[in-house]
Symmetry: C2
Subunit: 330 residues, 2 copies
């Protein structure tokens, strides 16, 4: 605070009043103090600014994708809760690495929100530092981000539900179509879902054949390509575990084009329970997506009302058996 | 302005300075003037506030749905353009009628944006009045809203592309699955796409059989139900024209369950070119959705920079022939 006051050429008391939005500060003085504070990356402690009652009524939501069902559904659930409490949602889409870097660099200067919600994306160490500079509440939804209160599914458990189902049906040669998001490296969902594949094999006493693992970017077309790669093996899998329904639906297309029956020749299981999984009769592991957004919204409200939340919330997933899985051919 | 000044107990000059964000106004005075102006629903003319350079750097985006692909894609395109110009996006989801009414009632009091973009929804007369009170720029995207500059497809033309394709293939008994959005009555897309069905029949000299028209809420499951209804007719259609791909995919499920071949027994065409239409080999009429959001964003930037835009922009659609349409059985 002393540095801020010195830089702005005002007393400590004035600097403090300016930063806490006290009414008896001339606009020009306040601007000078804010500029100095920003320059020095001075952080108003959330407690202090809350005590001073200075709230913007706005929450920033940061998403890596908007048009994908998973992210849009999280956002829908979150927005509904915040709007009900008359909080406005500022939407920030950060796509590739360059985008992210610019966004997080500028973030502290935008000190104009009461909280930040990070939807379905990992937060790297330098980004955590920039977020920290904002001095506002931070919540993560749609993924475990250990540094913040989060709402998520247990990706390892979800993956195990899919894998154990295939193993129970008698499959021993199971392919995995793992998804990588090039713009969001280190996303824990990928790690958990991949680990499930390996642990399920270990528990069943089946060695993993690395040729059965294909990693592709998220999406239907990449899923279709991955399935083609698996069908090109001398001994293709009898079942395929895909990290997401959209990827699984791509695999289904390739199988259909190859004239193979599902599940007669090859079983397919996804994760998500995308609305079209039901329509396409895809077996999947359902996760409550909108609800994760809702819970994250409630977490924001609790934090803003002064409650202390540090833990994450894990919502349960469940296996939904439809017509795309069955026992392997005898 | 005189009323505002009187109510706030200040001179006209002071009231004007306060409303135009002039720096030499004490915060308490400004608050009083703003409160008075809000009470009187005083509208700062956009021209005046633009000349005074007073901008919030924020654009409000109003959407009737977030998690549906069409709306999320529009939003993604729009957000990208606005963010590039360092404008923040305030997201407002208005769902049912009660929601809409509350939202539009409160809107003028939220005079804290430079523009409002209405995504994929009709704007009723009382809502237009409330929007007008805000005195900011308004743009519509993803639908023709004649009162505002808009970006849209020509729904009549899109519907004709689908219908003319079926007629060209030789179909004479064509069903239509029309979609109604109960929360958004009067949506022009529905009107245009329905009119296309009737006009195509008239041009081909084929009388419309009203039993072949089913109207359902948007979605896959309603589409499946609609198809079942059509299959319950003594003489079912040989082809089905659905107002959207997701509805068409519902119809496809019902046909598959009934053991019917697509397109051997029944052809199906949708509208949109949803990413899963490609994966499921669905013939459709493609509309550039993200691009409509992008164009709307550019429209906002032009308006904010003082350009005068009053016309709408119509982006072209195109027929994408895949595997779900073919000639009727001889």
């Amino acid at each position: 605070m002393a540095d801020v006051a010195r830089r702005a050429g005002v007393s400590m008391a004035t600097a403090s009043r300016a930063l806490s939005d006290h009414p008896h500060v001339a606009p020009a003085t306040r601007a000078r103090v804010l500029a100095a504070a920003e320059h020095l990356s001075y952080v108003i402690s959330p407690e202090a600014s809350r005590l001073a009652g200075g709230t913007t009524g706005r929450v920033a939501v940061v998403v890596p994708h908007i048009s994908r069902w998973f992210f849009a559904s999280l956002l829908e659930g979150l927005e509904a809760v915040l709007r009900e409490s008359d909080l406005d949602v500022l939407l920030y889409h950060v796509g590739d690495a360059a985008d992210r870097s610019t966004f997080f660099q500028r973030l502290p200067a935008r000190r104009k929100v009461d909280a930040v919600v990070v939807l379905g994306m990992p937060v790297a160490e330098p980004e955590r530092e920039r977020l920290g500079l904002m001095g506002v509440h931070i919540v993560a939804a749609g993924g475990q981000v250990e540094s913040y209160p989060y709402v998520s599914v247990d990706d390892l458990a979800a993956g195990r539900q899919a894998m154990d189902h295939l193993l129970f049906l008698g499959h021993r040669r199971i392919g995995m179509i793992a998804t990588a998001d090039p713009g969001q490296p280190g996303w824990p969902a990928v790690r958990g879902r991949t680990r499930a594949y390996h642990e399920a094999h270990a528990d069943a006493g089946i060695p993993v054949d690395e040729r059965l693992i294909v990693e592709v970017p998220w999406g239907g077309a990449p899923g279709a390509d991955a399935m083609a790669q698996l069908l090109g093996l001398r001994k293709p899998p009898t079942a395929v575990y895909a990290h997401s329904d959209e990827v699984a639906l791509g695999a289904v297309r390739t199988l259909r084009r190859a004239g193979l029956r599902i599940p007669g020749d090859v079983s397919v299981v996804g994760i998500d329970d995308h609305p079209l999984a039901d329509l396409t009769d895809l077996t999947t592991v359902a996760q409550p997506v909108r609800e994760q957004g809702t819970l994250a919204g409630r977490m924001v409200l609790s934090l803003l009302s002064g409650e202390d939340i540090t833990d994450g919330v894990t919502v349960p997933t469940r296996l939904v058996i439809r017509g795309s899985t069955g026992p392997p051919r005898p």
